[in-house]
């Protein structure tokens, strides 16, 4: 079974600065997808970014980008120019042959004004 590990339960960043959230995963599959989801205080989970494992190029969505290291099974999220609205719980997730999302334990991000 696949596992997803987020080793940082909490992180903080100063507004306008850059922060990187870490995620590692364990799998024997070669074809899969990785995700970062955001859960603000409203509790509504929002898809932030998706990476397809067969693509070497790192995914980018505006201020959000990933560093995907397939051999190292690492998938970190970088948030540039952090804004107060970025404060949320961030979950890393894996989707593979089981056709279900497996989530990490989450990282609570605080943005300091």
């Amino acid at each position: 079974a696949q596992t997803v590990t987020q080793s940082q339960p909490e992180m903080s960043v100063q507004e306008a600065e850059t922060v990187t959230l870490s995620c590692t995963y364990d799998t024997s599959e070669s074809d899969y997808y990785l995700f970062w989801y955001k859960q603000p205080p409203s509790r509504q989970m929002i898809l932030v970014i998706r990476q397809e494992a067969y693509k070497q190029q790192n995914a980018t969505e505006n201020r959000f980008s990933v560093n995907f290291q397939k051999a190292a099974k690492s998938f970190s999220l970088k948030i540039s120019d952090s804004q107060l609205g970025d404060a949320a719980m961030y979950f890393c997730a894996y989707w593979g042959s089981a056709r279900q999302l497996t989530f990490g334990s989450g990282t609570q991000l605080t943005v300091l004004p």
């Binding site: 997808y33 898809l47 979950f91």
Partner: protein
């Protein structure tokens, strides 16, 4: 605006009660999922369904059952609620080839006393 709607935002039930958590999606998605969210554990899959009247056990199905009589509705049932089922419950849906791109509801925070 596409939606996954969970019938209750907060729910308080007594030990031993039969509890129904309802989830409705308006996107004609084939796949529906129930997750449980606990601090430090992330989201764990309880049950999922890829079609009407179809259900599959996830990682933690004990103490739960589900019902999917219509495509848009997926119900989670706690047959005899216990205090260790106090948690946040999240419903999600995706289209058949969604590759992990789920749409989530806003969650039901259930307290069993």
């Amino acid at each position: 605006d596409v939606k996954v709607t969970q019938s209750s935002r907060y729910l308080v039930k007594r030990t031993g009660e039969k509890v129904f958590l309802e989830c409705v999606q308006d996107m004609d998605h084939e796949n529906m999922f129930w997750y449980r969210q606990d601090p430090g554990l992330g989201l764990r899959l309880i049950y999922f369904s890829y079609d009407v009247k179809m259900k599959e056990k996830g990682d933690i199905p004990e103490g739960y059952s589900v019902s999917r009589e219509k495509k848009e509705r997926f119900s989670l049932i706690l047959e005899s609620a216990s205090t260790n089922q106090t948690s946040m419950y999240l419903c999600a849906s995706s289209w058949q080839g969604g590759f992990g791109g789920y749409t989530f509801g806003s969650g039901t925070r259930l307290t069993v006393v």
